[in-house]
Symmetry: C3
Subunit: 371 residues, 3 copies
């Protein structure tokens, strides 16, 4: 009996990155059915505070209701379909009022005012509430689910809440924010995040802080992929010069203060936990070849409250690194669109990408991929 040659694990076929139909399938599956991170609890400190978010082709209002809970609704008036809130954030006051004909909803979505509708035979206010979206929270992160009747968020997160309890994420407060428009498929962003084989090539500054082979991946879970990398000796955090202007987060043990945790919380939250701060990327697919990425930096309130608090050491380091990553991701998008592209071989340093690809295929039930 002849020996079978082993074959390397291969990247996905081109269709996953260039086919608009495939893109729609993925958005539908991962963004319209899964729990999707839309931001942080501290985005909505007071009653009536809202943010709007584009999730797939839908626009949502996420609002702090009268009872202090966070609610989410499709941003669509039930009268003539008008988008209710055009601003990215703000305060609604005690109710949401349509700018067109003043239909008014309370913060739980009930229609409470509809001028000149009382005389309409058969019209009952209670029949026309806002279309509600399920909301859940994890340690300060806000998630929504558009599927109607989802499994609980905890099922999607798996062991993450236990794993990251020490970081006390719920206590952290957002400081800086940079949004990027990247001409690459959303999965290329996640794949780029999930390996550091490219680090010595395109991130020499990063590689000086944390050796690219120092990473240890955890086994992939259905809802997340990730692992830790070690800081080099003498390096306090991922910053422009490797020092930190902040004390470590209070809950961390000595070992945790020597690592950075990098986790892709699928489908759209890249969670990077440093000894002294949290960085998040929200990944928003906009087209098969375009992704909006919103990067934010979050700090402990004690650090934020210090006179002269200055997060620029962390922000400038990662802004540079982000731009390097988006550039090569865009080059990948360009090359994969070629008829000369064939699935190529992954190295052992890219096993998490192979896990991610397998998860995509399994989730979509696509034994035969497109392309």
């Amino acid at each position: 009996m002849a020996a079978v040659d082993p074959t390397p694990a291969l990247t996905l076929p081109a269709g996953f990155y260039v086919d608009p139909d495939q893109f729609r399938v993925e958005v539908e599956h991962f963004f319209m059915r899964k729990w999707v991170c839309v931001g942080r609890v501290d985005d909505l400190p007071a009653r009536g505070d809202f943010v709007t978010r584009d999730v797939g082709v839908e626009n949502l209002i996420v609002v702090r209701a009268e009872d202090e809970s966070i609610r989410a609704f499709f941003n669509v008036c039930r009268h003539r379909g008008t988008r209710l809130c055009a601003d990215p954030s703000g305060n609604t006051g005690g109710s949401i009022r349509c700018p067109y004909h003043a239909w008014t909803y309370d913060l739980s979505g009930r229609l409470v005012g509809a001028p000149h509708m009382d005389a309409v035979p058969g019209f009952r206010q209670e029949d026309w509430p806002l279309a509600r979206v399920v909301v859940s929270e994890w340690d300060g992160h806000v998630f929504i689910n558009l599927s109607g009747d989802p499994a609980p968020l905890s099922a999607q997160l798996g062991d993450l809440p236990d794993r990251f309890r020490s970081w006390g994420m719920a206590d952290l407060r957002s400081s800086e924010r940079i949004a990027y428009d990247v001409a690459a498929n959303w999965k290329l962003i996640i794949q780029n995040y999930s390996e550091c084989l490219h680090c010595p090539v395109i991130h020499p500054a990063l590689n000086r802080l944390s050796h690219f082979l120092s990473g240890e991946n955890e086994p992939a879970a259905p809802g997340h992929l990730g692992g830790a990398m070690r800081l080099r000796d003498g390096i306090a955090s991922m910053t422009a010069d490797g020092t930190s202007r902040r004390p470590p987060l209070p809950g961390l043990g000595p070992e945790q203060r020597r690592t950075v945790q990098y986790y892709a919380v699928l489908p759209n939250l890249l969670l990077s936990l440093h000894p002294d701060y949290m960085m998040t990327h929200l990944v928003w697919p906009r087209a098969v070849d375009r992704t909006e990425v919103v990067c934010r930096w979050h700090f402990h309130p004690d650090a934020l409250g210090q006179p002269g608090f200055d997060p620029s050491d962390a922000v400038s380091f990662w802004d540079l690194t982000n731009r390097q990553d988006w550039h090569v991701s865009e080059l990948s998008q360009l090359g994969i669109a070629s008829r000369a592209y064939r699935p190529g071989p992954y190295s052992a340093r890219e096993s998490m990408l192979h896990d991610f690809d397998a998860l995509i295929l399994r989730e979509l039930g696509q034994a035969r991929p497109p392309g």
Copy 2:
């Protein structure tokens, strides 16, 4: 026998506003077959004067011919298809000459010059005239019809010529013009024009001049929808401060001087007759979610001839109002594209919109609407 609950009249399904195929059907039906307003007789004061107009995906030349009549042609040379006139307006001289190879047509569309074609066997100049488009006029408004063999314009206009004779529209002259590019379906523009329920909410200045409940709609006709609104006591016209710098139009009686007539002359002329001026909007669908709107203000020659004539009181008032209307129309377009959109209930103050929707359905023979 059980009583049937009454149900409110509902807005159209989303497909009417977001489906590109539906858009093509509507352009074909309403703009390629109906009489479409392309401007005013006074756009073409002299022989050879022309304007070009984009009607649907077609570009037309409308020109004052040698016999003083107004003619219209597809803007396409019969030689190699070149667009003949690239300018939006101008004077052709006594003939229309192709800029590519100098094929030349007289102002009735006959080919009168074709260099180096005389030697071509079988070529006869009389076989290659410009493709002509039927033109008709109503009180200074110019209409074209692309259907080939249309019913007369008067059949489409119904009782409008009688109704508006007193305003003497043929005598008025165009003064100001503002073009708007609106990210909304063309029907949302017409619907917005056809109710004032939104006026107290988004046009507080307008509502101070003319109470939003002062309107009386006429029964809808196959070719137009409209009615009159009353000016409040002490208000002379729709202007920034409610006064007018012009006398009323000479033909109007005392009652007509107290109203503004608002008529949507389908498919594309919004005709707003004030005591002292005429405003017109031409509505040009460009895509399922984009409409060009050209607003113009027309005055009596006696007013225009006054030293220091200044129409800014009328123009600035309506420019502000227009922008408010386009903004909410764009918000409607955004909301209707959501999967959460469902047809919503009309109030009694929006009966004209229900009439318009019914007309759209009836004209298209679409018992089952898209979406």
Copy 3:
């Protein structure tokens, strides 16, 4: 038996110019299967010099290899598909290195470095070379062929190498370059180039140098269309004032010094041989209604080496002429898109266009054209 009326030869139906599916068929047939000109040998003077070129939807690297030969490759890394060279030109050094994970190829396309791949079972470097593209040269012009197994370039060129030997094109060196983005189908560019009936109308300056009826077309060949036009008495070349700042090219006889040769070398090289310089246009279809045209001027090294060498007399003349041509080509594109467009009659001065149309139909096997 009745005589049959002769009928003029007619232009192509609209679909050839406005149908995106037809466009894809043409790009596939003419640009993915034929020899396509990508530039000049002197673009790559030294080993490692490269240019990148977009051919259809593909991006290629054309590089001077270690053995001095010119090679071409799809610009796609075999690892994860990254575009290798993002710059339009430069020098690779001795190898082509991927910017993402440093996979490295020698200039013959062999994979010579793949970090962390050695431990992957079944991985062999020799299995992952760059995808190579066939290259051939004609008198300094560089051609590529994407079909895999093409007939030799000479078969496509026919008698051109003999015909133009006297011009010594291989000796010429590129000087100036202007790129144009033209809103017209690529065939309209070729057709415009292939007749001078339009010259007295839109190029009065050109017509003063070379009478538009002075041209003599050669019989069309499968791979090229063209002919010569005579310079008027006293005119030395096609320049702003009809004089030349350069001596004639050394190999030309007295008769050749009185002509300009205009040949469309299909599918994409427009070759214009003047007594004292060569002009080339490369025609790059980008969409059914958009074409990039790169015009370059090439001179004899003796002229280029003169102190104060100034090619502006040739460049400014043709830049003006080019812009006039693109403008009418864009007007043709606009007119042909109309439903009023019908195939129109060619004159005897446009016989080369009829030959070109026939070639298009024959090559595509489209007896029944689209549209």
